[in-house]
Subunit: 385 residues, 2 copies
């Protein structure tokens, strides 16, 4: 152990979350804000392995706290999947599926709006990736029919089917919701398993794996289920049980792809404690879409601001093109950092410092008066020109 000075250690004392209480537009932050119920559970369950006091060898079978019931009864109803697993996050869920069912060197089809972790999960599994294109500016709409073309292309080139297809629903840039059923129908006709990346859907909007008729669905607790990170879920169609839930030869009750047990600790508790509220908020999804549309209508009244992606928006996450801010930045004394500073002055954060030309935002969970404050800020700042 190399000596560490007190002054170095002091850095980790009393760390504050700067700007807590600000309105945070960052889409990764909106759906993960804890409910009061989860917050109340923190102190009681924060110790290391707290949830494992009454474990009999498998985390998902723990009866107290009621993880068993949550994982095996409640979550399968919530996303209409035959089985659900707790994982360390949506990316870990994707990696797990690929690791279990895709042969190294095989090809995975992804939509070109996919999250970067879909590519990296494939790369980590030594898989090739081929993309279904989007329509480009301004809608960036995924062409669902193209899944068939890409499957044919892979067949021709590699003499085998793609080992997996992925559809991002919605994507994390434009909040576009492609026709997942159409993609599922195409994939199923070719017998190519389909994974729905629903990290921005599960916990925000109603979604059903059975209804889509896909094979896998992944969600994120910290992104969209009002949970402390890191935690994710994986929904599986029963045909894939054997492949994904294979047990260790030596340790008969331990699953190989789970490395025995998934997320050990507080995140599971926050996921469960928030769940009753999350279940209810999902039923009010219409209100969130209405709020997003209201917000966009209002800020599109500003000359030089425009929502990109499919219109009218179907999601709280939206991509804005803000030429008006870009123009201001050219002559502003703070240059391209002016926008971040101006929003911050108004109690609003979540747009990356330095961005002015375009950025994504989410209106998820804001109250009407908060939305108005944000709209006013957009209007005010646009007048700085």
């Amino acid at each position: 152990m190399i000596e560490i000075r007190d002054s170095e250690l002091d850095r980790f004392k009393g760390m504050r979350r700067e700007f807590l209480g600000y309105l945070n537009l960052n889409p990764i932050q909106r759906g993960g804000i804890l409910t009061l119920e989860a917050r109340e559970a923190l102190n009681e369950w924060a110790d290391g392995y707290s949830i494992c006091d009454f474990c009999d060898g498998v985390l998902e079978c723990i009866k107290n706290p009621p993880i068993d019931e949550f994982v095996h009864e409640i979550l399968p109803k919530f996303i209409e999947a035959d089985d659900v697993k707790l994982t360390n996050g949506a990316r870990e869920s994707k990696f797990m599926v690929m690791h279990a069912i895709c042969k190294a060197g095989s090809t995975v089809i992804v939509d070109s709006n996919a999250h970067y972790t879909s590519y990296i999960a494939a790369e980590r599994n030594r898989l090739d990736v081929i993309e279904v294109s989007n329509s480009g500016y301004p809608e960036f709409r995924i062409n669902e029919e193209e899944y068939a073309e890409r499957i044919e292309e892979v067949k021709k080139k590699t003499k085998e089917l793609p080992s997996l297809a992925i559809l991002t629903y919605p994507d994390g840039n434009y909040g576009n919701l492609p026709d997942a059923k159409k993609v599922a129908k195409i994939c199923s006709e070719y017998d190519v398993p389909l994974l729905i990346n629903a990290a921005y859907a599960i916990g925000r909007m109603p979604i059903s794996l059975n209804d889509i008729k896909a094979d896998f669905i992944v969600g994120s607790g910290h992104k969209s289920m009002a949970s402390s990170g890191p935690i994710g879920i994986l929904g599986v169609r029963k045909d894939w049980r054997d492949a994904i839930f294979e047990k260790s030869k030596r340790f008969k009750n331990k699953e190989i792809e789970m490395l025995g047990c998934g997320p050990r600790g507080l995140p599971v508790i926050t996921l469960m404690a928030s769940f009753p509220s999350v279940y209810k908020r999902v039923k009010n999804w219409d209100k969130e879409v209405k709020n997003a549309r209201f917000f966009i209508k209002e800020i599109e009244n500003i000359d030089g601001i425009k929502q990109l992606g499919v219109k009218p928006t179907l999601h709280d996450l939206n991509f804005l093109e803000t030429n008006v801010f870009y123009e201001i930045s050219k002559s502003h004394k703070r240059g391209r950092f002016f926008l971040y500073k101006e929003f911050k002055r108004r109690g609003i954060i979540g747009i990356k410092p330095g961005l002015t030309r375009n950025f994504k935002i989410s209106t998820y969970g804001f109250k009407k008066d908060e939305l108005k404050r944000i709209i006013d800020a957009f209007k005010d700042i646009s007048m700085l020109k």
Copy 2:
């Protein structure tokens, strides 16, 4: 979404951690109890992706909170490793190393006291496992020299070297601390990389990767570093940088084995907030060993109780053979569950319900008067015969 009844949702309201405040002998619980400093940070940092407010693309480079400094300066000093990574746990660290450097079908050598996740991480990577034996009852001492024999055996059988060797330091059953330097010397002579599983060492006792001269070391935040789970660390010798930290071809700042970013959320904050205390407690390791020896000496005064493993113990985690309790269970009206109930009645938990003949316990972090209470309970219960 299938309708979920209110009565079902009510199960997740106001979940209590039963027996919070009891003295918990379970070794997985002792080192993960949060410090007051970590507890104070909970409310502020519990939201989903809280730590990512000021992220520029790589979690370990976040300056506010000071993750960058913690991962790149403080932790490398703490465990004397050239590089440190945050992971989702010790098991995930082991999987990561194997995934990055071991070819499928190659062989990994493990000590026969290894944690089950060492085997499963190998199984998930489709690796064969070969074991270095222990001396059996009562010491279960790992024979360090045998690493050479096993390497020779693998060479002979597979025409190649083992792709990795693992040493568990200490193991999670007996708390034995084998001679890690000796094993490292053998492995290095054969050019076989060595991973030290220090999940019960890092955060409890001083340990140095450079001093041992191994290649990798893994630790667990929730097991031994006073952190909320799931979080682990991986220490790496610089020769392995390229292999373990390989960047994505497409996303130049994202590491493949990390799937971009590691533990996203509160566990990182608790690890950092607890660190100043953890650093200090490690310096007082002698006191913990002394307490463990005091405890064992006292309960070994009871006829029919005996510590197994190497003696005198070198660690807070110890395995007890308790024939006295087994004998009582034979005629007790509660049978083998009597022991759990009797301890519980005395405010003590952590021995699995149903065990009477032998079990492991940890004395880590108990104050002298708490130790005495536990010793008295052992004495009392042994008199039930």
